[in-house]
């Protein structure tokens, strides 16, 4: 049944876990291979998928990413950036 009303935020999930879940769902990637030093472009995250990934963070954590936010290059950079935004906007 369609849920009418505001979406509840999901429970606590760390940023790396969210990235791994997203990439497993969208690209079928083994979560073990999604490590901090990996470059997102190298594992198939193009500019469109980056937008989707950022939207996933906004959606799951209720944070707002500015339109001029610079895209992180590595998984680690993304984790750091998202953790920082979550901390600032919590």
């Amino acid at each position: 049944m369609e849920n009418i009303g505001f979406q509840l935020k999901s429970g606590p999930m760390d940023s790396l876990e969210l990235i791994r879940d997203f990439l497993k769902d969208h690209l079928g990637l083994d979560p073990e291979k999604v490590t901090s030093a990996v470059e997102l472009a190298d594992i198939g995250v193009d500019s469109l998928m980056m937008l989707e990934l950022m939207f996933e963070f906004e959606d799951k954590y209720g944070i707002t990413l500015s339109n001029d936010l610079k895209s992180p290059k590595t998984v680690g950079e993304m984790v750091t950036l998202m953790d920082q935004l979550r901390s600032e906007q919590s």
Binding site: N3, G5, F6, H26, L48
Partner: protein, 419 residues
């Protein structure tokens, strides 16, 4: 420049029966309906309509999760149908196979869709207005755009020629086929992938069609028999989702590479009633029928079968039969006519392509699927040879497929049995 012959070398469909193309055609010949009762969980008023769904279609399985995730349902159905047609034509996807060296820079796509990614738009509206969110998916535009299907198909098949979409309501994919046909025949394209897809099960879309009072009534028991073209007790059309694709190819090219040729596309005629948005006019349909016959070099007596537009609306069915009688004259009484929508429903922008495939298979298999549920012929629809049960071993030489759209746009496609 002399005109080329146009071979049909690939056929693909996402069947509402869940099986392959031979299974789809066999079920039509047997008069089996794919219509079911659709009951949604929408609040406060669910959809409760006869509908045709592609239940067995799993987009992730057919396309892979990354690709399927970039598509609305209509593009998923269309791309999967295109993959089926391409495989049927024996052509490689994407990068050329090792033994292929020719350029595909003039190979193109012509696609039909009436609604495009309407489910994506509806999802966005629900997020914004029902759930109170401020943002929606960043790929909403790419999911919703009407040219999404043909864009994905061009990318996936590695085709560098034209990639275009046609939105002409119920004639969308018939127009797409016709435009693709012209490009191959003129020499502008060597191969064209063409077809159409639609997924009209969006809540707002279904409600809009209901408001027009042209939808067939039916419940859980009666829905399979809800669509009854030409029958005196018809109550309207049955919407459905679907996708169908064809490979049209320069005849000499097809022969040179040893392709299986399912049939020949020989003509295309179009017209506009230019009189009313929804009330069809026989005069306009006559112009399209005559144009298709002239384009194909066919005399009326050469045509053995017409797959009718036949939606089962009160106004549309008698007008179509009237147009056929005006064009075919005395031959009309011997002209086999059936409306396969009685079984597979009305897929809007995909209908023309689905029915073109039915027509081509009728010629290839020398067998005619019926108009199912034609219980009592409406006297206003009399005057042609209505096919009410599957006919086998028919000596079919040429056949037409009619598509007549809201807005008064008419398209007629002409085919010949494989030589």
């Amino acid at each position: 420049m002399s005109q080329r012959r146009v071979a049909i070398t690939g056929l693909g469909i996402i069947s509402p029966y869940g099986g392959d193309l031979p299974d789809f055609f066999a079920r039509l010949l047997a008069g089996q309906s794919a219509v079911h009762f659709l009951l949604t969980e929408d609040i406060p008023r669910p959809l409760a309509i006869p509908f045709v769904s592609c239940h067995g279609f799993d987009a992730n399985e057919a396309l892979g999760r990354p690709l399927a995730g970039m598509m609305d349902r209509f593009a998923q159905l269309g791309t999967a149908a295109a993959f089926n047609a391409w495989a049927d034509a024996g052509l490689s996807r994407g990068e050329l196979a090792k033994d292929e060296t020719e350029s595909r820079d003039d190979w193109g796509v012509a696609w039909g869709t009436a609604l495009g990614g309407t489910l994506a738009y509806e999802k966005g509206y629900r997020e914004l207005w029902q759930k109170g969110r401020e943002r929606i998916s960043p790929i909403s535009v790419l999911l919703g755009m009407n040219n999404a299907a043909n864009a994905h198909i061009s990318i996936q098949l590695g085709l560098g020629g034209v990639s275009m979409s046609h939105t002409v309501a119920c004639a969308s994919s018939a127009i797409a086929l016709g435009e693709a046909f012209r490009r191959v025949r003129s020499g502008e394209a060597t191969v064209m992938l063409t077809g159409g897809s639609d997924a009209p099960q969006a809540y707002g879309v279904a409600r809009a069609w209901e408001a027009l009072r042209v939808m067939a009534s039916g419940d859980a028991n009666t829905s399979p028999q809800a669509c009854r073209p030409f029958s005196a007790d018809r109550t309207g059309l049955v919407l459905g989702e679907g996708g169908a694709a064809l490979v049209l190819e320069d005849w000499a090219h097809a022969v040179a590479r040893g392709a299986t040729i399912h049939g020949e596309m020989v003509g295309y005629g179009t017209s506009c009633d230019h009189s009313h948005l929804v009330r069809p006019e026989a005069a306009g349909q006559v112009r399209a029928l005559n144009a298709a016959l002239a384009d194909a070099g066919l005399a009326p007596e050469d045509v053995d079968y017409v797959n009718a537009h036949g939606t089962a609306t009160a106004e549309g069915d008698p007008v179509e039969i009237s147009a056929l009688k005006m064009v075919f004259g005395e031959h009309a009484a011997r002209l086999a006519v059936s409306a396969s929508k009685s079984m597979h429903g009305h897929q809007l922008g995909a209908a023309g392509a689905i029915e073109a495939i039915v027509t081509i298979l009728a010629l290839r298999e020398q067998a005619i699927p019926p108009t199912a549920h034609l219980n009592t012929l409406d006297p206003a629809c009399a005057g042609v040879d209505h096919v009410t049960s599957g006919r086998y071993n028919q000596p079919l030489r040429a056949a037409l497929s009619n598509s007549f759209a809201f807005g008064g746009s008419n398209a007629v496609l002409a085919f010949r049995a494989p030589a």
